[in-house]
Structure formats: C-alpha cells, structure tokens
Symmetry: C2
Subunit: 442 residues, 2 copies
C-alpha cells in the first residue's frame, strides 16, 4: 500500500530560500518567463514567481539551451548558480546552466505585462483579467486585499468571535424587497441575500460574537465607480454592548490590528504601489447633522435635504476632516431613522435619528453599522411603523421573542476598503472579477 | 471632537479571566440565563457565555434581587464574588450580590436547551435553529467547524497560497449546464457557480497557488443525508506540480495541521462531543479499479459497473480500510475519465482513467481533486471529445493559450468533513442553515 505523509520539501526554491543561499550555490527554481531581454552574448530571463521577480542570466556557451526556443509566458524550471547582483531585484541573480520548459503558450501575450505600469484601459484589463493580473503591480493589489481579510478574521478570533457561514439562497431578505436578485428554487420563489444581517443577529443569541466574510448580492441599477452588484462583505455582530460606540471601537481595533499586519507581512506590495498606511491610532466621530453643518459652513453650501447625505457631501466631509483634523477616517453617527432599516435602534433621546454610524474613508462610505433593536415588541412596532409585513421574518422574530442581548454590528465592503487604501478611483480595480450592469464575464 | 481609540478593556470578565481571579474577588460577568435550579434557600443560576457555562449561586438575603423575577433566556449582568467549587464547571462559582437584567424573553423557550443532549428531531432543531443552537453541544459542532476552516486557511497561507474571492454570479459554469440554479441578471440569463473551478485555475497563472473558502450552489434533486443545495467549499489550486500526488500530499498536510490546531484550541468542544481525532500521520492511496476489486473480494460482491463507484461501495471501502489498515481516510486515485469533467488530465498510460482522486473519510467522499490539463490544444481536444462547446469558455481558454504551468487542486465539502469528524449521520446536523429540496428557511 502506498501512503501520503504530508508536504515534502520541494526540490525547487522560493525567493525567501534563494536569499539565504551562499554565492555560487547550485539551485533549482521554477516560474513563468516574465520577460526576456536579449543583449547579444548574454540575455536576462526574468522569472515571475509568487513572491516576486528573479533575474536569471543566460550566457551563450554556459547555458545548455537555445535561447531562440524560449518564449515569454512559458512555465520553466531552471538550474543555475546564485550570484550577488545589486542591480537585480532582491540583490541576487541566477547564472543559468539548464532550462527545462514545463509548458509553452500558443500565442504571444496581448498585453505588455512586464511593464512596471500597465497602461491599459480598465475595460481591457477586466476583459483580460487572467492576463492583466500577471503584471506584478496589478497582482499586488489583491495581496493587500488578502491582508485586509486576514486582519479582519485574525483580530476577531482574538476578540472571541466565532466564524459562521450563512446561506446566500433564501426565501426572504434582510432589508425588504427592493434590489434583490430573484430566482426559482425547486418551483419556489427565492432570492440571493443582500446581507447576512438577519442570520448574524440570530447567531448572537448563540455565540455572543460572530463574523462572516462572504459574497453579498445587490440588484441595484447603479452604474458608478463605487458600486458592484456582487461584493465581498466583512460582517460582524456582537452581543452585550453598552452602546453603538462599542461597535465603532471594535472597528477601530480591527483597523489598528490590520495596518500593523500589512506593515509586517505586505510591505513589499505596499512599496510596489507606493502606499503609505493611514494613521488609525484614533478616529474622529461626528454626528450626521453636525457633519452636514460643518460642510455647509466650510464650503458655503446650503443643506438641501437634512435627512440624506449626498455623495458630494461625503466627499467634502472627507476633505474637511483631512484638512482640519488630519484624519483619513471619520465616523458619522446618528443617521436619520428614515434612511436606516427596521432593525436599527432609534435614539431614545430623539427618535428621528438612530444609534448607528457609517465609517467614511477618504470621503467614501466603507462601513455601515450600529446598535440593533433587541426587544421583540419594539421590533414589531418598528415593522408596523415602517409599513412592512412580518411575513418571512417569523424565525427571526421568534429569536427575539425568546430573548436576545443588547447587540450591534457592522458590514464592511472589502473592495471599497481596498480601493481607498491603495487610492484607486474605481472599485473594479480592486475586484478580481467585477459584476456590474454590463459585466457578467469573465 | 470625540475620538475612537480602539477596543477598551471590558468591565465584565470572560471565563478565561474568571479562572485566574483569587477566591473572594468581586467580579462582574454577563451572559444568558441558561437555566435556574431553585433549591429553596439557594438557587443555581447557570449563565451561558460564549466560552461555556458559569455557575452562579443565588442566596436569599445575600443577593439583592427577587429570584421570581428572573426568567430563563434573559440576558443579565451579575456582580458577585468568586469561589472555588469543584463540582461546578471550570471548578468555580460566583456568589451573587446583584443581578441586572439587560433584556427579557417574551415567552418561555420551546426547547429544553439546557439538557446535556437535546433529544429533539432534526426537523425541529432546524426549524428552530437560533434556539436549538443555544444548547452547548449543538453549538460546539460549529466551533469545531470553525477550527477546520481556520486550519485550512492558516496552513495554506504558510504554504504560500493567496486567498481569492471569485464571483458566484456568472454567465457560464465550470462543469456544464446540468444542476445549475438559473436567474435573470439585468435582462440576461445568469447562473450561480457550482464551483470556483475555472476561476481558481485562471488565477494559478497569476499567484501560482490560490485558495478560496465560500459558498457553492448545486441544483441537484438529491434528497439524501449527504447532499445540500448550497454548501461551503474549501478550494485550492496550485501550479508547478510534478503530479497529482502533490495535491494529495498538500491535503494530507492540511489535515495534519488542522488536527493539531483542533487539539490545541478546540479540545473543550471535542470533549463535549466525545470526539477522538483521527490519525492522519499517513493516508493510504489506492487506485479506483483496485479498490473496487478489494471490496468485491472481501465482501463477496460482483462488480456491476467498472466505471462508477456506488455509495455502498464507498462505504465498504471505508470499512475495509478501517479494518485491514486502521485508516479513517483513504485516497481513491485514477477515476475513470467518463466520470470526470473536461479539465481533468487523462492518465497518459491509459486514457480511460484520469490523474485525479477522491478522498474518502470513513466511507464518505469529502474531496475531489486532481491534476488539470494545462495545454490549450489538449483542452480543445477534450472539449470536442466530450461533445461540449467552447461557448462561454473563451476567457478560460484564452488563459491557457497564453501559457499556464502544470497544476492541480481540489475542493473539500466543509459540512461533510465536519459531519464525518464528529460522527453525525446527516450533513444538515453540521450546517447552520441547510438548503435542500424542501428547506429555504430559516
């Protein structure tokens, strides 16, 4: 009988391993041929590996291979010796002895991916996503995105949260009927969840603190630079809170933890994109109505609708807080009840407003959160006041009938957070395969 | 201006913190009233917290509260002093001075959740999921499930994998037209992805090694104990492999890492459910045709279809390997080409079989994986041989036309893995909110 006994040491080396080899050591390395620069007697063959680029030197007579047979975008395994070379990436290069081609492309690449900046339209980049992401700077965006999700999870595990997986197919959704994708589920009408809201709340009664990182679906007909019809939502919900300030404090903690993680494990990618991490040691919080006033005053605007925040106002709040307080982030609190869903808790001091907040990052909303109603009767009253029906909410309401602690939570749009962090101006730049009004492929 | 500065130390203590307090220390604790046992002069009020149960002692005259006013399922915050008590959970109890009720239920609980074993039908448990999970053993199943996902991610990060988020809405799916949920996407036909297969393959050309943990959707009309119409798939895909054995080795490594993690961080939950972790130091691998022969011989069965594995045969393979080799896991390799999708690589020595595998855990398939075709021309040939069309696969095929390394990967069904690990007999037991032919709520 044959047995598998776990991961064996590979015979090829990764970049981290190459850097600790003595000069002259013979090494095997694999990778994709990122580019070939033929200088006559010698040629530089740059390999693309998951951790970065490695410069290999092809020398006529030394390397037992015909350079003419080597194509860019081939997957290869090379044998050679390590040499220090300050001008090369990571300060090393490999003098090639042998090249073994593992696979070859059928056609030349349609994009100049080896250029430092891929000056291609967003449209073209998205149409050829699996190719355009081979550019190392394009790829770096998604490594940073990985760091954001890791930070979210690792911080919350530390804080006693349990990870949950809630269904995306359902009979009914959290926020009512609008903007839902509908489908047929074995001859019954079904929807795709636009948020794990109701599920995470129900699970607070079980685990006290829960989180989920997963896709959400919004059938909104927005065609803007900041909207997607499917995105990754970072959600948490926690019980036994004293107020919605606890939720904002937890989000601040997440950002602090995650910026440290990025600086530790993703500095290479941050440098590639020229990103300086924002200061998150303290984040200002201001009331919704106060923020509107501040913007009206500073920028000489009239307040048209006191119960809504226009995108332009969000942007100006960002500008104001950057200029006057040096802050990249700002919590806007006490959103009007009219603009919040039925489960949002009204401010007992003034029921026109809620105990809720948005977090703006450089003038863009990246989080909505707040305290939720935990009393069964209050929920019923709110549903009635909003002229909604309890149909489809039976089990949700039943959970509250049988006792729920004071609680609250939030949802963060991962792609938007990434976009603002790396100063992109379109959320599609930070989405692997965006879904919008016109895009369902690739 | 007010500022948020991160997570503040809570004034209430969690169980880990209670255990390090000196006897007689005054502490504040919050939690749900799990059960009340009134003994006359004293009463035991058991609090349910996220980490377990805490015994509190109510004494007439000492506790400034009327016990009659306390309801099971209330959320409370209590003040009291720590006392060593061997018979209580964790070896401590709290002598109550004060009880503050944070919220109250409107109705008594419909299930006896404080019983050690919740002897309720699966149907009733699922109908009242947010209540039935308040039973600590029911809840423990999902903590263990969390450990499995954590182990998967943490192990793969260590192994140089990048986490990706691929879209669930698409125009076309990986495995062809059958068993897909269909919907309308802004006046265009769309489907829900039954696997991230094509996306993770395309991303191998970018990141070399990728993984994703997310929902997949299967419109299969199976009504069995092991099928769900939506489940969480743990997927990875890796480039520069020497063969599909590298994929099996990586999965073995994941299991080894994760069993250690469970033993370290989830022992409490394992003990609660009486689970002994399986030995994963080595996992046997046997060819598909050989496994069928072994079962036919040992159990005196005739082989009806040499190209398919019946559920009964899977079960018997599990039994055989447990009896004869002491193995809970077994890799079944070289599945027939007829039973594998177009992207599976055929065995060059015998094209009737593929370089692929399933992993059986106690007689149930929990993983399908293998090496994939990386040559553009071979993919075209295989698509033709399978009488499929390339329509909708344009970008996928284009990725291969522009060079892809040899690669392979796998998908693990999270709920099935959990089910087998904790010896449940229905996958719905290990799914928070199952979706099946009849169940779309809660």
């Amino acid at each position: 009988m044959e047995y598998l006994e776990g991961v064996k040491k590979a015979k090829t080396l990764e970049i981290g391993e190459l850097l600790v080899q003595a000069e002259g050591t013979e090494v095997k390395v694999n990778g994709a041929v990122h580019t070939i620069r033929d200088m006559g007697n010698v040629a530089f063959v740059i390999l693309r590996k998951r951790d970065g680029l490695v410069q290999c030197v092809f020398e006529e007579g030394v390397t037992a291979f015909d350079l003419k047979e080597l194509k860019e975008a081939s997957a290869v395994e090379v044998l050679g010796t390590i040499r220090k070379e300050e001008r090369a990436a990571h300060g090393i290069e490999i003098r090639l002895k042998e090249i073994k081609v593992l696979s070859e492309p059928d056609e030349p690449l349609p994009l100049p991916i080896s250029k430092w900046k891929l000056n291609t339209s967003l449209e073209a980049k998205l149409n050829m996503r699996p190719i355009s992401l081979r550019n190392v700077r394009e790829r770096a965006k998604f490594k940073i995105q990985e760091g954001l999700v890791r930070g979210f999870r690792d911080f919350l595990y530390e804080q006693g949260f349990t990870e949950i997986h809630t269904p995306k197919l359902g009979a009914k959704s959290a926020e009512g009927g609008a903007n839902l994708f509908k489908l047929e589920y074995f001859h019954r009408p079904a929807i795709l969840q636009q948020s794990p809201q109701l599920y995470k709340q129900m699970m607070v009664g079980v685990f006290d603190r829960v989180f989920e990182t997963g896709p959400v679906f919004r059938a909104e007909k927005h065609n803007t630079k900041r909207h997607l019809n499917e995105y990754t939502s970072l959600d948490f919900e926690m019980g036994y809170i004293d107020g919605f300030e606890d939720i904002m404090a937890m989000e601040t903690g997440f950002l602090q933890y995650t910026m440290k993680l990025l600086a530790k494990d993703y500095q290479k990618e941050l440098d590639m994109l020229g990103i300086t991490l924002p200061d998150v040691s303290k984040i200002p919080a201001v009331r919704f109505d106060k923020a509107k006033e501040m913007v009206a005053e500073k920028y000489n605007r009239t307040i048209r609708n006191p119960y809504d925040l226009e995108p332009e106002e969000e942007h100006l709040i960002g500008e104001l807080f950057k200029e006057d307080y040096g802050a990249d982030f700002v919590f806007i609190t006490h959103y009007p009840s009219k603009k919040r869903p039925f489960y949002a808790m009204d401010d007992p001091q003034d029921a026109r407003f809620t105990l809720s907040f948005d977090l703006l990052f450089r003038g863009l909303e990246i989080t909505t959160g707040g305290q939720r109603i935990h009393s069964y009767q209050q929920l019923l009253d709110k549903i009635e006041a909003k002229k909604m029906t309890t149909e489809g909410l039976e089990q949700y309401l039943d959970t509250f009938r049988h006792g729920m602690p004071p609680h609250g939570g939030l949802g963060i749009g991962l792609e938007r957070l990434t976009m603002q962090l790396i100063s992109e101006d379109n959320v599609r730049e930070t989405t692997l395969f965006p879904r919008d009004l016109s895009r369902l492929e690739p």
